[in-house]
Amino acid sequence: MKKERFELNKLTPFVSLIVMLLVFTVLTKGSMISPYNISMLIDQSVVLIIACCGTIFVSAQGRVDLSVGVNCAFSAVIGDLAYRATGSSLIMIVTALLVGVGIGLVNGMLISRFKVPSFMATLAILIGLRGIVNYIQSIASVNYASDVIMMLSDNQIKLPLLILIVVVFWYLFEYTSLGRYCKAIGENEVVAYSVGMPVGRSKIVAYALSGLTAAISCIFLIARLGGTSTTMGTFFEMKVMTAIYVGGVLVRGGSTAKMYKAILGAFIVMIIENGLKIMGYASSEVSEFVQGLLLMVILFLTVFFELRRQKVKKTAGQEA
């Protein structure tokens, strides 16, 4: 019984991925799994997967980073300004990455030093930075990406890079003490603190990584869109969050946070979005509705099973 449930939690993302794929294959009468669409799907998922790779560090702590989307847009816009000033794509990439990490550091400082609840701090950053992004875009005309950046839209460069990024973050998350600290903080922050783990530093690093991946994903996004745009990154943070939770990571984080769950979750989210598009529901409100509903249902299920498991443990077992 015990073992079965443990397996169940591990299998959830695989099962839901397959179910979603099947459902949408049927609903779209097979056009979902046409070779063209599959390659489209993978192509579209790249940005989301990269962002999930960093944000999982934050989710493992039971916290949330709602500034992923705006961070993506902001670092793109600033990178764009740097490119205009210098004409060098390298400088643009470096600037974008630095900006992303910088915003992540600010988030981390606010949350670990000043104890602002993470959803509130990152939401405030989201609103504030969106204002600045709008301002910059209102004075600077839309720019087109340089050739170097556009090279990233080529699958032969894009996919190896994606794999490299995923491998690096996977390693960091699953096989180093940093990932372990993040999970421990999600499990029980007091424990991590009283054992003597660098709790504050881990929080800041996690947010910095989340910012870094947001910036990396912004570069891929520019390559895909061909330039920066005004709506860039809107609603992206919700996609990242949904992907991670749909993958089976609990809101409290902890040892339920696994890299493979985030990546599979990203695919699930993209399949739903893509499937709805093929079926002709491309409008933002339908996809928002479906995602909202999906988020609620998934959260309900994970919380429900977690609580039931605890209840079983309590009645079956030990002292209170």
């Binding site: 015990k2 007091v190 603190y193 009283s194 003597g196 605890q310 077992g317 002292e319």
Partner: protein, 500 residues
Amino acid sequence: MTDIILDVKGLYKHFGSTCANKNVDFSLKKGEVRGLAGENGSGKSTLLSQISGICRKDAGEMILNGEPYDPHSPLQAANHKIGIVVQELGVLSTLPAGVNVFAGRLSQFTRFGIINMSALYQEAEKQFKKWGLMPVPLKKTCGNMQIETRKMIELARALSIDPDLLILDEVTQSLSQNNRDMLYQLIEYLKAAGKTIVIITHDLEEMIRLCDNITVLRDGEVVGTKACDGLEPDELKRMMVGREVSCAYYREDWVPDYEDEIVLKAEELSVSGEIEAVSFNVHRGEILGFCGLSDSGIHTVGKAVYGLAPSMKGRVVLSKKSLEIKNAGTALCNGMAYVPKDRDGEALMMQDSIVNNFVFPSTTSLKGRLSFLNPRKLRTVAEKGIADFQIKCSGVNQRMDGLSGGNKQKVNLGRWLIKDLDVLILDCPTRGVDVGVKAYIYQLMRQAKAQGLAILLISDELPEIIGMSDRVIIMKDGRINGEFERGDDFIQEKLIEVMV
């Protein structure tokens, strides 16, 4: 009409597999002051919790004034004129003190849905005056109040229902002398008015002085009830501890036994509001006991030494490297270990696997190149630990909350002992474990001592401190109140004298 107010028959209460109350028979007469004595975990608080409706009985019956009585909540107990001041029930820290006095019973001041606040505050003030309680600022919220003030509010709440039965669970130990005297008078007064009072206190002499009869519990069972006239504390203690006081699991030598080398020095540690100017040295191979009442600051000392009290003044120095411990990270990396009192809340990740908990403190020392943590290596370490420390479980991937209290504590201790340690801080290491595991933990401590570890043993159980330590420091109100070496002076009475 009999003169028995409450009759408890055959009461059972389980928490999981632990039996907290076993076939308890207990009856109270009107106008009686009854004491409840027993060691920690003997089930006296559980008994009172059931009477006061905080938790429900599993089996048995309670009869109040001739009628069956089975309260769901303390409020219902209050409706039956049972007033409660127990540790589990606190004050509502976000509400004003005056409102707290009538918490759950506000309807008496409500008219057309609106509460008449001035009437409420007047009534609350009246209650404080009526019972002679120390006045408190009624309009302020309780959040930042001193524990003594909070207790006054709780007392007022319990007394405001004009109780026939008053339950006082360790109230006196958080009161100053003035208020204690006030409480003694109050008890006299209530007794004269034919009310019944049940008291739990650690101070046995106080209990004998106040009570008419004392009921002793041990391991969840009633051992007996004694009249207080001519009762000696020693006799009471014998009943409390019972046959299991065999010295087998404590140390049998009666001389201090440690090396001269000082391992750790604490200089003038102060944490505002908790401890003040605490200085001591710990030697190699020494078990230094810290003992005191639960609010004496002994637990804070443990935290402070391990660098977990950021607002601390003073210095903690590891002598070998002459290194000052400023935060827990430094302590962790330099051969110190801390086993906190709250095992489930502060020490172990209950929803994580055994292996993750077991290797957690050693994360830094287990990493390989590129700070690679090899899952297989971690697993081996945990498996070895399970074998070495005889932890009963289904495998290293079992979740912590599936283990029994004793096995949890073995994981908690074992994961530190596999490291290369100099200083081990143990805060109530045998809390909530059964006798067998207790003996095992003492054995581990002796082994660690033989290996030359310096051990800080913080405990509120005197027999444990006396049984294990080479030296003991007694604390009171956050200050060091006395120090004893293992030897002829090492007896409970002398230590209690300094503690209280």
